[in-house]
Amino acid sequence: MSEKAKSISSKKISGQDERLKEVSKLRLLLNRPELGAVGGAILVFIFFGIVAGDTGMFSAYGTLNFLDVSANLGIIAIAAAMLMIGGEFDLSIGSMIGFAGICIAIPAIYWGWPLWISIIFAFAMAVLVGYFNGILVVKTGLPSFIVTLAMLFILRGATLAITRLITGRTQVPGLRVLIENDPIAWMFATDTFKWLFTWLGSMNLIALRTDGTPLATGIPPSVIWFIAATLFATWILMKTRYGNWIFASGGDKNGATNVGVPVGRVKISLFIGTAVAATIFATIQVLDAGSADTMRGNLKELEAIAAAVVGGCLLTGGYGSAIGAAFGALIFGTVSMGIFYTDVDTDWFKVFLGAMMLIAVVFNNYIRKRVTESK
């Protein structure tokens, strides 16, 4: 290129940089997929702040309660969001939660395996189920909606049948005693920052039990996993090559294939991701309750997808964010717990869930139009 051309092009570039600053921060913010969920979460907190501000909902104990519920949902919602960005659905998440639960409980209780081996076994099964979902969708080209709907029934049925066959019941209790001194279980069963809560208690800043220990004992493990999952997923989506491949695979499968993106491998790995997230959810719940139940996680797949949609994921793929899904989960968790602190009958929760989703979809559609047709 001649010197003249170079100077022209560099002028152009610096010109663009100047114009870039003119785009207002607000406009940039308006184009982010998680905007709706963040705004929604703020509205929800304002609402409960007014309606239930003096009820104890926002005490340390109450806050940890709704954070725990949000975090559990958030762990699977983030994985579901990543899969949706990659252009697919997983309706078997809820069934996988039940299946993972008995994969931990039956070996640990009936076969005498150490708990940590049972947990690893459950994760290995999750990788298998996810891989199977993925390879089926990629190889057959069938909609993942159908493939994973089949898997929803197969997994739930197998969970029930296997459990009844081995144990004669549908619940497997007795896990709590195994948690102590286990090399892995603590990662899913330990409250953290206990010292902080003890200190807050001793300063009389948070509510105490009659024996003087604080009512809220520490940050539950679900919240730690939830925060870690949000950060990890955001890092993957925004900062890695694999993240770009996820957007590309969901945005335009053929185009991505033509420029060398291994679309099949990306999708399979995302299906493994949702199954593994379901297993993290299951492990936390099973160790917290001390028992596995074959019906655990029922309908959770739909809540996870709802949270992802509220968080800005498009059903058509290629667009969305992990932070959005995290806020979507926070909205649902906050409302599902907050509703107990209000005079509203809890039966109305599902009505809210549905209405929220509808509003989110309409809003997201508008945002997508803004992003792609702003000229």
């Binding site: 290129m1 152009k12 570039i13 663009q16 114009r19 900062k239 957007f247 991505a256």
Partner: protein, 264 residues
């Protein structure tokens, strides 16, 4: 002969009993724009896919810079410097200019086992490249969906060149575009050729092809009707040679006939 950058000698491709291509020969020098003209079903798509390494020719040979070559996969063709821009462009409207530009070939940085996508570098290169072709990307992180059809086409071509294309294969780059947008794309194609690339421009639009082409190959029903230099052939002759020419003549006669009958 070896001054040809790329040669396709007597290429044939069969699908079962169907003869998709028969004895097609094309030769291109550096800086040359060859237009491949043909109506729908003339075998243009098959030829493109053979050039891009998707199909292997059943007969004939491909010679690049004097060396006989066989493409086993699209990646082989890419590695040999054949950059194909398909009609769908392989662009994702919801993704940013930068993310599209580097899709599948993202620049990395960081530790050996913890490499991350070097967005800053990618943004800088994408903005630079788009700036060079005079496309005004306000912000390389804006979505491709906000760009016009012509700009998208130029982005796809620019991407192919950046990733080392010596021969550009362009599939109907102007078919969905208005006059202004099409001329912008054609201008960029001429510029690319002037920088030493060989361009194969596939189109059914003679009016777009004629001003920019150095030579013209006409395909009809899987066969080449020959390659003509610009000085040897007129736009009308080219039009007539494509299957559409005769058909249009016939249509004109029929319309006149109808007109005459309706007047009576």
């Amino acid at each position: 002969m070896s001054e040809n950058l790329i040669e396709f000698n007597n290429i044939s491709k069969f699908f079962g009993k169907v003869i998709a291509l028969k004895d097609v020969t094309m030769k291109l020098k550096k800086g040359e724009i060859m237009c491949l003209l043909g109506d729908n079903g003339a075998g243009k798509s098959t030829l493109i896919k053979t050039l891009a390494g998707v199909h292997k020719p059943d007969e004939g040979e491909i010679v690049i810079e004097g060396k006989k070559t066989v493409f086993d996969s699209p990646k082989d063709a890419l590695d040999m410097g054949i950059g194909t821009v398909y009609q769908d462009l392989a662009l994702v409207p919801l993704m940013s200019v930068t993310r599209n530009f580097f899709m599948g070939r993202e620049p990395l940085k960081g530790l050996p086992f913890l490499k991350t996508f070097d967005i800053e570098k990618a943004n800088q290169i994408a903005a630079e490249r788009m700036g060079q072709i005079g496309i005004d990307v306000r912000d390389p992180s804006q979505a491709v969906g906000t760009m016009s059809g012509g700009e998208r086409q130029c982005l796809a071509i620019s991407r192919a060149i950046y990733f080392g294309a010596k021969v550009l294969v362009l599939d109907e780059p102007t078919s969905a575009l208005g006059v202004h947008q099409a001329s912008m794309v054609l201008k960029y194609i001429v510029k690319a050729a002037s920088q030493g690339l060989a361009v194969i421009l596939i189109t059914h639009n003679v009016h777009h092809a004629y001003p920019v082409g150095n030579s013209f190959t006409v395909l009809n029903r899987g066969k080449s009707l020959g390659t003509f230099n610009k000085k040897d052939i007129s736009r009308e002759e080219l039009l007539g040679m494509m299957a559409g020419g005769e058909e249009l003549d016939k249509l004109e006669v029929e319309l006149k006939e109808m007109d005459r009958l309706s007047k009576n």
